[in-house]
């Protein structure tokens, strides 16, 4: 059976409810999980074989409600419609059942076959909440299966319930609203135009319209059915006048009370909330003064650990490749064959010996930070400083993700509610030193000049981002809605989650980035053997040699830096024709710093450029490229003058 014929099952749940962990437990290492609200900003498909039965399972971004307010929630809602699921698995965080059930009540109105996974029941027990799953199932009218996704508990029972649901059906009972709301819904259902293009049940559509006004199917309503639009507004204002609050609040408040009632009827609070180790640790991590030294300590110690692990590993791994290069030099003349073989060797050797020693520890530390839940805490601490550059704390998470790779960081800007914040954050992300640039900084600046120089580079880089943010804010004046950010409970890092995340990123590096490094090195070898590099270098000489004061041979390496930033570093050795250890014999320390600064800032790499185009549009992508080139030239010249 292929993907098209297999039943489609969609995972829906609020952020941090353990949805992706549950999805991973079923799908294997495909979905990314983390402890930050809104990490699964892209949806993940997976075709799984469960004891001979195929399921096409889809993980959607976590969504607090089905109200299409921010881009991540729009993705969730759009997919619920477009994938036409055969069943929905609604994952609930049992430790905050009252709130989780509000989304369940919205989903029940869609009238789709549904199974509820009552997840994190262990955490609920720890909090002193005992939930009667059977009673909850009776009231919702759908199967409710207790699970502990992190330990794989309840997964089999959940899948059995899903298969039963696919065979026998399992549509839940719809929530009962107050009389006036039911009346408003009924009136609107009967007024809905027959040719309404929005795909949902009439009841769900009517509720969404009363709640969201023109946000839901807005184009259709304003342009094609102005009369209906008027009728809808009458119903909304009637409800608002009767209850003395806006229509959306009437529904939100009633849903909240319905969920609370369900919670009270099916749960028992055995003891009052107790302070756990996480809360005690939070007293320090979120402390108005202590929080900052801890934040600096965490980031600086990660930096030194990456360097202390990567440096010796690099020295060790470089040796065999250096000897191999000597053999090549001895056996082959400096003809085309030598240049091509040298290109292959530089590409493979550079990947193994220069990139991976720094890249791997960085991946592990990024995964740890995400999994523990520290990103949201950094967001809280840095909010006040982000305001100085016209943003707020919610942009901190995309920025920190940017230290790993700028591409997911740009995608993660979807968690920001306002477009202005998304554009501003997306324009600044390419200036965050990603793992590729960290490799260059550590392998050049830290390795040859010492780790303090490299740390200085990072401080300089962060100040530059702040300055740029300040300048850009002058052009994007609209006010930002301000910070609203859930701080998830601290979790002990799950080794399995961390390893999975590292594995996924490493696989993507080996599959996409490394071939680019090898291919680029071979192309440079070819260009060198044909002496075309001299042409490119002389065209770029006014910039490279004139303005930046670098050896003109480096011109060609900068062109290739657009593909992958590390490529510039690997090609630097190839272009200068020296081994890594002898680098200081051909360029000075000052030139090394200028080169690092220029390569770091001069243009977003191809993948970042593409994702900027996709996420915030072509204009912003080109603006970002122009901004990067301008900043890189200005800053590099300044650094050259200062040194």
């Amino acid at each position: 059976m292929n993907a098209a014929e297999s039943p489609v099952v969609i995972f829906v749940g609020q952020p941090n409810c353990g949805k992706s962990t549950l999805f991973n437990a079923i799908a294997g290492p495909k979905a990314q999980t983390s402890n930050f609200p809104g990490t699964t900003v892209k949806h993940t498909h997976s075709l799984v074989n469960i004891e001979g039965r195929m399921l096409n399972i889809i993980d959607l971004p976590g969504t607090y409600s089905l109200h299409p307010a921010d881009p991540a929630e729009k993705v969730a809602l759009t997919h619920l419609f477009s994938e036409k699921p055969d069943a929905v698995i609604n994952v609930l965080d049992a430790s905050i059942l009252g709130r989780s059930l509000e989304l369940t009540l919205e989903l029940l109105e869609m009238d789709l076959p549904m199974v509820v996974a009552l997840n994190m029941t262990d955490l609920a027990e720890k909090k002193g909440v005992s939930i009667d799953a059977r009673a909850l199932s009776e009231r919702l009218g759908v199967p409710v299966i207790p699970t502990i996704a992190a330990h794989g508990r309840g997964v089999k029972e959940l899948l059995d319930a899903v298969f039963d649901c696919l065979e026998a059906g399992c549509r839940g009972s719809r929530p009962r609203w107050s009389k006036s709301v039911e009346q408003a819904i009924e009136t609107l259902i009967h007024s809905l135009p027959e040719d309404l293009p929005c795909v949902a049940t009439p009841r769900f559509t009517a509720i969404q319209m009363i709640e969201s006004g023109s946000l839901f199917c807005s184009d259709y309503m304003k342009d094609i059915a102005p009369e209906f639009h008027g009728r809808l507004e009458d119903i909304r204002s009637g409800l608002a006048a009767e209850r003395d609050m806006p229509a959306y609040e009437v529904l939100a408040a009633e849903r909240h009370h319905l969920a609370q009632k369900l919670f009270e009827e099916t749960s028992r609070v055995t003891r009052r909330l107790r302070r756990g180790w996480g809360e005690r640790l939070d007293d320090i991590l979120l402390h108005p003064w202590l929080g900052y030294p801890v934040l600096v300590l965490v980031l600086v110690s990660f930096f030194f650990l990456i360097f202390k692990i990567g440096g010796p590993l690099e020295t060790l791994l470089l040796k065999p490749f250096a000897s191999l290069r000597l053999v090549l030099e001895a056996r082959l003349d400096s003809g085309m064959l030598f240049h091509l073989a040298d290109g292959v060797l530089q590409g493979i050797g550079g990947g193994v010996a220069i990139v991976l020693p720094y890249f791997l520890p960085l991946l592990v530390f990024m995964a740890l930070l995400e999994d523990v839940g520290y990103l949201a805490r950094a967001g809280f601490l840095l909010d006040t400083f982000m305001h100085r550059i016209g943003l707020h704390g919610k942009s901190v998470s995309p920025f920190i993700l940017g230290f790993g790779c700028n591409v997911p960081a740009v995608v993660a800007t979807r968690i920001l509610e306002s477009r202005r914040d998304r554009i501003l954050t997306s324009l600044l992300i390419p200036f965050i030193p990603c793992s590729a640039r960290t490799t260059i900084v550590l392998a050049l600046v830290a390795y040859f000049l010492g780790p303090w120089w490299a740390l200085g580079f990072y401080v300089f880089n962060i100040l530059l981002v702040a300055l740029l943010g300040r300048v850009l804010t002058c052009f994007f004046r609209a006010s930002s809605p301000g910070l609203i950010l859930e701080i998830p409970s601290l979790k002990a890092p799950a080794l399995k989650n961390v390893l999975l995340k590292v594995y996924v990123q490493l696989k993507s590096f080996v599959r996409f980035a490394w071939p680019l490094l090898i291919g680029g090195s071979i192309v440079l070898g070819l260009i060198q053997s044909l002496h075309w590099d001299a042409v490119i270098n002389s065209v770029l000489a006014p910039l490279v040699a004139g303005a930046l004061g670098l050896p003109r041979e480096l011109g060609v390496t900068l062109v290739f830096g657009f593909l992958r930033k590390e490529l510039s570093l690997l090609m630097m050795l190839q272009a200068l024709g020296v081994g890594y250890k002898d680098l200081l014999t051909v360029i000075s320390r000052e030139q090394m710093i200028v080169f690092t600064v220029f390569v770091s800032f001069f243009i977003p790499c191809l993948s970042t450029f593409a994702i900027l185009w996709k996420e915030v549009g072509r204009r912003i992508a080109f603006l970002s490229a122009a901004l990067s080139v301008t900043v890189a030239v200005m800053v590099s010249v300044l650094v050259r003058i200062l040194l």
Binding site: Y64, S65, H67, A69, S95, I96, G98, R99, E102, K127, P246, Y248, E249, A252, A253, H256, L273, D282, L286, H287, P288, W289, Y292, A376, G379, F380, L381, D383, T384, H387, H392, G393, E417, P481, G482, L483, I484, L485, E486, I487
Partner: protein, 83 residues
């Protein structure tokens, strides 16, 4: 105690949300995160240099950080310790 906005509320003492003002987007976001009129909360921390506020939901046990502009729009009064 009369209702006052969260910026003026004392730290760590139980409060009950009396009203939430502001635009539709902000109010809906707060509702969906679990902050509703009538809920019991406590102010768990204030960021330095006019930084954000940490609101602890006493029944759900969740913590939400909100900027000062938003905190100013949440009115709360002293709540009964026993809930």
């Amino acid at each position: 105690m009369t209702a006052r906005n969260l910026l003026e509320a004392p730290l760590e003492s139980p409060l009950r949300i009396v009203s939430i003002a502001g635009g539709e987007g902000v109010r809906r976001r707060l509702f969906s995160l679990g902050l509703n009129v009538g809920d019991r909360i406590a102010l768990a921390g204030r960021g330095i240099l006019r930084g954000p506020l940490l609101i602890k939901h006493l029944d759900l046990g969740i913590t939400i950080a909100v900027g000062r502009g938003i905190a100013q729009k949440i009115m709360a009064e002293a709540a009964d310790e026993r809930g």
